[in-house]
């Protein structure tokens, strides 16, 4: 009998680990945002011609609250552009991926500030709760509330639905799809998804090779492949053909196929891995592609 207790105890002890909150790859250890001075790992670094003048960069603190929360969470966001022109400008709301914080994505936001010319459009980016200097812990509902907090702020500044373009990259495609399919404060007029994932289920099945339900591992409801069915706004899909993280066939293509509207465009980029689309596409081509899509 002692043997049985011993083996059961060993099994229990070895299994006492908690992985539920481990979806998120956030870094909240930073003390301040470095943006242009950030020297950590980045997907690419733009040359000086893409510099943004300091007076066009505004760091914001916004209040975010999910339906179930009794108190607000303070999140950090930044706006590139002229705050006084939000009531007339087109704004790209950029929902970044799962990596660390806004410093990592600064070059991308800066690049977006050059679509159809420098500072032609406003660009807003945020750190979801638990990322960077945003307080709280990352959750799926919290992430949607955080993006909606940006929309609320933009709406208060005079932004209208028709001038809002939402852009999601990787993890950010979840909030982009969710808030376009089930709008809250604003209804994006166009949606751009770069390297979208289809659903948690596809991730599980790609990893296991078996037809395995996502519920075994996660309670996440993220399901871009289903949400996109409700979306009729013009949709642009960008994906690297060499994406070794989110397979363009099992993820992006399923999202593209399920799109509920009639105005869709896709650009599959030869040689591009996850996060390499703008660089492998060529920054000018990338900007031109986005610019044409937004202007249509």
């Amino acid at each position: 009998m002692k043997t049985i207790y011993f083996l059961l105890a060993m099994g229990f002890v070895s299994s006492c680990m908690k992985l539920d909150s481990n979806l998120y790859n956030n870094d909240n250890e930073i003390k301040s945002y470095q943006l242009e001075d950030y020297t950590g790992e980045q997907d690419f670094i733009l040359d000086a011609s893409y510099a943004i003048s300091a007076d066009k960069i505004t760091l914001l603190t916004l209040s975010s609250q999910t339906e179930k929360e009794s108190s607000v969470t303070e999140i950090k966001a930044l706006y590139i552009g002229d705050l006084t022109k939000i009531n007339t400008d087109t704004v790209i709301l950029y929902c970044h991926g799962n990596k660390w914080h806004m410093d990592f994505y600064w070059q991308r936001a800066k690049l977006l500030a050059h679509v159809n010319g420098k500072n032609t459009y406003g660009v807003m980016m945020l750190d979801y709760r638990g990322y960077g200097l945003s307080s709280g812990k990352p959750t799926e509902e919290g992430m949607y509330a955080d993006v909606d907090a940006c929309m609320k702020w933009l709406k208060e500044k005079g932004l209208e639905n028709k001038r809002l373009v939402i852009y999601g990259f990787s993890l950010g495609t979840a909030s982009s799809c969710e808030l376009t399919a089930n709008p809250r404060s604003l209804v994006p007029s166009k949606i751009i998804l770069e390297a979208p994932f289809a659903s948690a289920e596809v991730m599980v099945q790609d990893g296991s090779q078996l037809n395995m339900p996502a519920e075994y591992f996660t309670d996440l409801k993220i399901d871009n492949a289903e949400e996109i069915k409700k979306i009729e706004q013009p949709f642009l899909w960008l994906h690297g053909l060499n994406d070794n993280f989110l397979n363009y066939k099992t993820h992006g293509q399923v999202v593209y196929k399920n799109y509920g509207g009639s105005q869709q465009e896709k650009y599959l980029i030869e040689g591009a891995d996850h996060g390499e689309v703008p660089e492998k596409m060529g920054f000018e081509t990338y900007l031109k592609t986005l610019g044409t899509f937004i202007r249509k």
């Binding site: 990893g207 395995m212 519920e215 591992f217 996660t218």
Partner: protein
Amino acid sequence: MKYIFPIFLILVLYRCAPSRYVKPLAKKENSLALSFGGPLIKFSGAPIPIPFTTLGYGYGLTDNITAYGNLHTTSALFGNSQLDLGATFSLYKKENSFGITASPALQMAYSIANKTGFRVWPSADANIYFHPAKKTSYLYAGINSWFEFSKLRAHGEDQKKHLVPNLQMGYVIAKTKWQHQFEFKYLGAGIPNTPGVVEYIGISGKGALGIYYSLVRKF
């Protein structure tokens, strides 16, 4: 560069621990086993094994057939019940020399937390074991496969893989009552391990290497 979703590291949970018996128990013999181990993955640049655990029980129906069941304890952390039930059959044996066994099994899983997602995957093992210098300890090697019979996967897409093969070799240090089993596996042999959210350590971009240890007590 990897944009890692760390939770999906646990996917390999289902890349099975060595839960079957390579060599059948004696008639009416019982055994309890605790297995640790899992595939090697790259995490922050370093190769690490994932320590999954399995608790198992076996019973010798005859000298040539052992029935067994295993509870995959790590699965329980995620609110899942994962069990496997199977039997090891001796196909050929030469006493204290070598033998060949086969172990068909059913791998079952259910999300208790969500009250959904019951799945069954048949699996099969074939192993050959060998007692060097007629010692009680033995070496073995074999193949294991999981079978997926679903025609469709998520979002109504085609399920293209219907067989996930794994190769294994190991060594069992056999004492009178205790056994220590060390196993090395090549999981998903020949199946490309990219694209994917888990950075497996495989062979030429295929499959995943895994290491396992089992502590077995017979009574």
